[in-house]
């Protein structure tokens, strides 16, 4: 009986495979098959939460939130997957930021199908287009000093800034900071209940119309290699101890936590925080509860 070769995620990414190669990823405890274009991963990520909000900027739609402000300070990395074809503004996550824009802090998509990453201080720190109707991985990573965007423009005074990665590639060309002020130069914090699927605490709530998976916040600045591992050529992976072991401070697997009880089409009254820190998401109002959906095309799983 022959054995499969065993490599780390980084070692696999450095291989020059041919179609049909199969290996074991020791970081993920997963099997990977090269399909000629990318490694396909067999793992257990099998559920996502769709937020079927037909329109934005309105009332009584789907979202989940923590019971209180998680009280995290110094958040330096925010990572998530989303999939939407909507042409209305909506927020994937919210409840982050500083005193001036506490309701804005988070990630949103706008009616031009561009991403808004907002550090909660600036009122919007730029936009970048995404492909509607596909799974998009977005990750924002704060660096404390020496920030410069991908065009080489440095933050004034050698200050901090936010690297923005879309599908594993940096996209913060003149959107990672705004020259001449302090935007983006400090890490963020949770400042209200952390929400998934709508804007923060205000009346116009910009519900997200689409699907969301694997939302994670870290008080550490992940490396470019870490972000590449999370993106994993487009296949979500477990970021916790059984996977990449990146120790997120908040982590929503959206149905894949052992304490979640997903069923196709079933209503969601709670989502577990897989970080172990207890910041679980809930929705006690029936008409605001999203429904679980099995993955279709996101991950091959056994």
């Amino acid at each position: 009986m022959s054995d499969l070769n065993v490599y780390t995620t980084s070692q696999i990414n450095a291989l020059t495979p041919i179609t049909g190669d199969m290996v074991v990823d020791s970081d993920l405890n997963a099997v990977k098959l090269y399909d000629g274009a990318a490694w396909r991963t067999w793992n257990s990520d099998s559920t996502v939460v769709p937020f079927n909000n037909e329109w934005g900027a309105t009332f009584s739609s789907d979202y989940l939130e923590t019971g209180s402000d998680p009280g995290l300070t110094g958040i330096k990395t925010v990572s998530m997957w989303f999939n939407t074809s909507a042409t209305s503004r909506g927020w994937v996550v919210s409840g982050l930021g500083g005193s001036a824009y506490t309701t804005y802090g988070g990630l949103g998509v706008d009616n031009n199908q561009k991403i808004y990453w907002n550090d909660g201080y600036s009122g919007g720190v730029g936009s970048t287009a995404y492909t509607p109707g596909t799974w998009v991985h977005f990750c924002a990573v704060h660096v404390a000093s020496g920030y410069s965007d991908t065009a080489g423009t440095a933050t004034p005074n050698g200050g901090g800034g936010w690297y923005m990665y879309q599908n594993g590639t940096r996209v913060d060309v003149s959107v990672g900071h705004i020259a001449g002020n302090t935007y983006g130069q400090t890490p963020i914090s949770t400042t209200n209940k952390f929400k998934i699927g709508r804007e923060g605490e205000r009346s116009g709530q910009y519900y997200f119309d689409g699907k969301i998976d694997e939302v994670a916040l870290f008080t550490s600045s992940l490396s470019a290699s870490d972000v590449s591992d999370i993106y994993n050529s487009g296949t979500p992976v477990d970021l916790g101890a059984d996977g990449l072991n990146l120790s997120p401070d908040i982590y929503y697997r959206m149905g894949d936590d052992s304490n979640d009880s997903p069923s196709a089409g079933g209503n969601i009254s709670s989502i577990s925080d897989s970080s172990g820190n207890g910041h679980h998401l809930t929705q006690s109002t029936a008409s605001n509860q999203p429904t679980f959906s099995d993955l279709t095309g996101e991950t091959i799983y056994v």
């Binding site: 079927n52 037909e54 329109w55 934005g56 900027a57 309105t58 009332f59 009584s60 739609s61 789907d62 209305s88 804005y104 949103g108 706008d110 808004y116 907002n118 600036s122 009122g123 919007g124 205000r202 009346s203 116009g204 709530q205 089409g265 079933g266 209503n267 009254s269 709670s270 809930t282 006690s284 109002t285 029936a286 008409s287 605001n288 509860q289 999203p290 429904t291």
Partner: protein, 89 residues
């Protein structure tokens, strides 16, 4: 979830309808669901229905209740119900 809406004139009408739905849908349930809907008002002063209360009517899934309403009294969501917000930078 898929939702239609019924516009009500007063908060008392909203509360009565919400209580009716809780009874019909056996809320609270064992999963922590404690209410059917939160009261919200059309707050755009330029909208013709300004000041009316928006009652969501779920049309599929566990909380489906549109069968308890007449189809001709339900409307689709209208993004202009919300008071316009300032644009993000």
């Amino acid at each position: 979830m898929a939702t239609k809406y019924k516009l009500l004139n007063t908060p008392e009408e909203f509360d009565a309808k919400e209580a009716e739905m809780r009874t019909l849908l056996a809320i609270p349930d064992s999963k922590g669901t404690t209410g059917y809907a939160d009261s919200r008002m059309i707050d755009n002063p330029d909208h013709a229905d300004y000041g009316m209360f928006i009652f969501p009517v779920v049309t599929e899934g566990k909380w489906k209740c549109d069968q308890h309403f007449s189809a001709d009294e339900l409307v689709d969501g209208d993004s202009s119900w919300a008071k316009p917000l300032e644009e993000l930078a």
